[in-house]
Amino acid sequence: MVNPVLLIVIPLGLAFVVPFFGFISKKIEKFIPFVALFFNLIVSLRLFPRVLEQPVHVSIGGFVPPFGINLVAGPIGILFTVLIALVGFLVSIYAFDYIKEKDQEKYHILYLLLLTGATGVVLTGDIFNLFVFFEILCISSYSLVAYFGDKTSIESAVKYLIQGALGSCLILMGIGLLYGQFGTLNMADLAGNIKSVHSVSIFVPLVLFITGFGVEAAIFPLNAWLPDAHSSAPSSISAVLSGIAIEVGLYAMIRVVFTLFGASSILTFLMLLGVITLLIGELCAFCQENIKRMLAYSSIGQIGLMLFALSIASSYGITGGLFQLVSHTLGKSLLFLAAGYMIYRSGSMNISSFEGMGKRMPYTALAFTIGAFSIVGLPPFIGFPGKLMIVKAALFEQEMLYTVLIFFILLATVIEGAYYFRVVQALYFKEEKNTQNQKREIAPLSILIPIFILTGFIVVIGIYPKLITDVLVSSASELLNRADYIKSVMP
Amino acid sequence: MLIIVTILVLLMIVSAIAALIFKDLISAVIAACIVSLIAAVLFYFLQAPDVAMAEAAIGAALVTGIFVIAVKRTKRFEE
């Protein structure tokens, strides 16, 4: 059995070594993220069957927890690791041809560090270690948003940096308050000592954590950075930010709320916040002309839907939320990758400049359409079982509040359908105004391969959702059974 | 002992407020450097020499140097 520490350490070591390969030849630098993420994918898939029976616990440095750091590779950790490795691997193939100018070595180092940070957040069992890897993720993404160097990119990156740094300060204050009270930093040990959320000294760290992680997860009042950052970044980075970074922020928030605090009284508040985020995301996306801003607002909406599903706190609800998370990761990355190539060909980001692209770039436009239908939730694709599970989970609880919120969710889905169909209509049913470049251009291979593989996953899992629902059900039970988690780490 | 600590803390607060009020940005940067230095001395009084050394080297020397380079690239006086 491979030690799960290697999932974090090998990409980190390869990120340190990239300049060495740069001394040998500048052309082989772009293959290093490819190799590292392929390794991660293989190792995490091999760990999968073993983790589903029993979570793997690894301690570091030879010291037992709580005196040392430990890693907990449970079903939800390995699920996230597989997703991160898969999407990262495909986007690194996309970046072979997409990133051509400027200083490529720094792009590849920062990209690999972003994915290492994300893998570290989902695998760790110690709250300060989670903060450190969360910082690696955030700082790499600040620099990657500003990668192109023009004025709008730098302004978006500075906005993201200031809000993200404030969020990190709040998380650190929360960790400090918890450590001062209980004298330990291990998540299982803290969870064993926290009895109820109602005293002030436990409530304040909970609020600080939700606000701090909420900045990265883009929950309603804290998401002002997201439209600018995701639309000014290079398209491969937008795919990774929308597909991985905000989901990892949501994971950290959910892990703290469910496992660390066991707070069931704040879940109603989180549910309302999720629905407000969903409505705001979808309504703002409806008015956008710039395609990347539209996709960014759609990400905000989907995160709101996921937060709603995850706060229903029944096994069915969390399974639905995690299914929606998988479908959003695959679908939104596909949309950003396809849109990125279409923007590169047409030269502008407006939706009106995509008219007629269905004939010029058939494969890319088809992939964009499939991704759009999947996010809206149409039947043969992966978005449909996810949304169905969420609606059924909420109606199963049979409370009046949930039914009202389901009405708002369906309204938001209708709005979402409207703006995605507008883009599909422009792609296929409008004629191109500029009749100079009428020839059919097929995209280069390194851009088509990731698009095809992601489309394949969306179609296959959409037709047989049973392929992944077992994994999701065990992940849901890991999140809900706080006592089992505590007992397995600290006997 | 307590008197020295009180004087140092008051000096830190005065200097932090001065960093906000000064219009000449170089003077504001120097006031921020004084806050870091006094923090380093207070860390030493609280019996944490490692943290005091790190705060003095990074907060007082390197961060001030970076701020001065930044002010040199933009404008010196704030209206």
């Binding site: 440095g61 040392g68 200083d103 720094k106 690696i136 790499s140 620099s143 990657l144 001062g180 | -």
Partner: protein, 227 residues
């Protein structure tokens, strides 16, 4: 109006943190892990400086994460600054006088020596990799300010950074390869308070000192080159 709202929000946050801090008494005997570190730190890790035994021994993985954060910040700064055009207005930089120039050239190796001493003796005296690295970087800052025509070779600083980072990870992986955990202390612990004691801790601290020093010097170099 907006300022009033911001002040109100800050007062609420400050009030919440104060109410929560009232439950935590200051200076009581340490609970749980603090107690264990103070009592058993020397015999379990071998270093006399307890802060070092916590930073590199018990929580070495966090230290690896922290130097990665610094690495990401340095590379990010280099990536963003690399896109600026160099200022085309050639400002006349007045060369420093002979006393300043000679003084800087004289002080530079002395400050490097102090920094190196601090990180080599990290397990014996207060200090360690981060502090030593920051002092080395401030020596480079002094050289840039005093003698304005000397520069660091970029390839040299990249190589030093790479060696530092790889040494840390290699030491950890050797611990994994001999059958124990990552970052296991596999060298003999020796006598406490000797220079060659505490297993892998001096090696790790030398790697951290070199890496942090070259990273911070790289930040200063990037900023001064482009302004």
């Amino acid at each position: 109006m907006r300022k009033l709202f911001v002040i109100l929000l800050l007062l609420i946050i400050a009030g919440g943190i104060t109410l929560s801090l009232k439950e935590i008494p200051f200076g009581i005997p340490k609970t749980k892990i603090g107690d264990h570190f103070i009592n058993k730190g020397v015999e379990e890790t071998g270093s006399v400086n307890i802060v070092t035994s916590v930073v590199v021994g018990y929580r070495g993985f966090d230290t690896l994460g922290e130097i990665t954060v610094l690495f990401a910040a340095t590379i990010g700064l280099g990536a963003v600054i690399g896109t600026f055009r160099k200022n085309s207005v050639n400002r006349e930089v007045e060369a420093a006088s002979l006393i300043v120039y000679t003084g800087c050239r004289f002080l530079f190796p002395v400050i490097l020596l102090v920094g190196t001493y601090i990180f080599i003796h990290g397990h014996l005296t207060p200090g360690g990799g981060f502090q030593g690295g920051a002092i080395i970087a401030s020596a480079f800052l002094l050289m840039y300010l005093g003698c304005s025509n000397k520069r660091i070779k970029e390839n040299l600083s990249k190589t030093v950074e790479m060696i530092g980072g790889l040494t840390f990870i290699a030491v950890g992986i050797i611990g994994l390869a001999i059958g124990q955990d990552f970052l296991f202390n596999f060298l003999p612990k020796g006598e406490p308070a000797e220079l060659l004691s505490a297993g892998i801790i001096p090696i790790v601290y030398i790697a951290i000192g070199l890496k942090v020093g070259s990273e911070l010097a790289g930040i200063i170099d990037n900023l001064i080159q482009k302004s």
